[in-house]
Symmetry: C2
Subunit: 308 residues, 2 copies
């Protein structure tokens, strides 16, 4: 839903699909940050079922506020992580732009020449479909919790809840693994299992993106989420730190999973095949219902939580 789809001016039937995304680092390891940034950029393309990405331009700011030698190392590692994940995706970085900035920035631009059959417009879902999600939510909380560990006062409050440092470490590792994982398998299987549209879950949270996806459908639909797969221990934190709005579906994710609308009869096979190939589960998390007035997305009052 974040991509631009434009028809070629000179060559009818050819479409240029492109997207750009960049942000400030959120994990300490610059190499991993590079991977997360690349996975995040490419994710917009995968959400449209674009499997092959023609090329990527890198968008980079080196931090003016770092000592020069540190800046050199950090920037190099971010670039390497970004490049490595692009190679893993079967594409490559063929240019970009770098500036010096108070804050570091990492991101890029992904694009492909396509025809209509190469991508799936996120608009043909109908009542009776189900909703599938390919990564758990809760990454923002996990990244924050990891920082609390270093702050005695903050950590004292977390300890109360029965969450250990090991629990937070595990959640953080799961998050980084998840954020740096490509959504390419999902994109490929969207074609095989006749997906009716998808989006990737990022800054607006699972419900924010579900809402956008619902509004984009030609039919009037309600996306009703009945299951939330959440990184383990993050629900406890979310219940205490309500301002994350995780349980309401509005906690931002970085490089989150694909939310795919599928015919009901294909959904379990889609999930099974994603799990088999990527070694990470995918879940059926909701139903597509018909809506009377305006399309929308909702979380069922009795939503079930799966801890991952």
């Amino acid at each position: 839903m974040d991509c631009s789809i434009v028809e070629s001016k000179k060559y009818p039937d050819f479409f240029l699909i492109s997207t750009t995304d960049f942000f400030y680092p959120l994990v300490e390891d610059p190499y991993l940050q590079g991977k997360v940034a690349a996975a995040n950029v490419l994710s917009d393309m995968y959400a449209l079922g674009v499997v092959d990405i023609d090329n990527v331009l890198m968008i980079l700011a080196a931090s003016r506020d770092m000592p020069a030698d540190q800046r050199r190392i950090v920037t190099k590692l971010m670039m390497r992580g970004f490049n490595d994940l692009c190679v893993e995706a079967g594409t490559k970085v063929t240019g970009g732009q770098t500036v010096l900035n108070p804050w570091p920035i990492i991101g890029g631009v992904a694009k492909s020449i396509t025809k209509e059959e190469d991508f799936i417009r996120p608009e043909t879902s109908v009542a009776g479909d189900v909703i599938v999600l390919t990564k758990p939510i809760g990454t923002q909380l996990a990244v924050n919790a990891r920082e609390w560990v270093a702050d005695e006062q903050k950590w004292d409050q977390v300890k109360d809840l029965g969450v250990s440092i090991e629990d937070v470490d595990r959640a953080f590792k799961i998050s980084v693994g998840s954020m740096s994982r490509l959504n390419r398998t999902g994109a490929r299987l969207m074609h095989k299992y006749n997906a009716h549209g998808a989006t990737d879950v990022t800054g607006f949270g699972i419900l924010g993106h579900a809402d956008n996806l619902a509004l984009n459908q030609k039919a009037k639909v309600e996306l009703r989420i009945h299951t939330l797969p959440i990184i383990k221990h993050m629900k406890i934190l979310a219940d205490r730190y309500k301002y994350f709005h995780l349980m309401e579906g509005y906690s931002a994710e970085t490089s989150g999973g694909l939310m795919v609308l599928l015919p009901k009869e294909n959904a379990q096979a889609f999930c099974d095949e994603v799990s088999r190939i990527d070694k990470w589960p995918a879940w059926i998390i909701g139903d597509v219902l018909s809506a009377k007035d305006k399309s929308c997305a909702t979380i069922a009052p009795d939503v079930k939580v799966i801890e991952v």
Copy 2:
């Protein structure tokens, strides 16, 4: 020379040409700054003879350090200028990314689906060609001189040289007009007059870019610049403020002209037609000579200055 040219993974004979460029504002008027930024991004495409740009993504940072109401106005005006110039170029902005940053940023990503005949690889020049330039140099000096006017101490030094405030104002206006002018006419005429390659003149200065262009040619060539069209009064300043390296050819330009390598017999007609359409002159500024060892670019010792 700043563009990426990649062949489509799925559709042989189709190429995706793209470029990204962004920087910090350098003129005070945010609307004009938006135009300059757009002209600068598109310029990379025009240097390859790409006339029709399929779409543009905008890259934007709103300044955290501005009061919110001022930030809103400035950001809006920058976007409007950027958009307006894209419309003038016959393309449009179809997306992008905006962040909050200490410093404001404006730029974009331009791209097109092309076939080999739609663009001109900057590599087929031969001895006997001539070098054409479509905008004067000296913009960096003009932008700086405009700032000196407000600083009594600095301005006292400039007054000595016999340059008036009106002279600086005029140079600044010429610069902004030049920086916000599209290089599209040049791109179109490159095809008509059988150009052998081109580059746009930006951050490395006229000689820096000429050198890159020379090195990119299949033949061993020397690009010998015999004429420098310079914005009026900027040579006097350059002779005093030698650290700009304007006369040595290394003063950075923003959104500079196209430097086009053309068969000698076509060059004057190219210049005449650019002038007629754009109402700005273009000049034959040098010769392509054969080089013995390595390709290179030089400025002739008896270089002629044309004040514009």
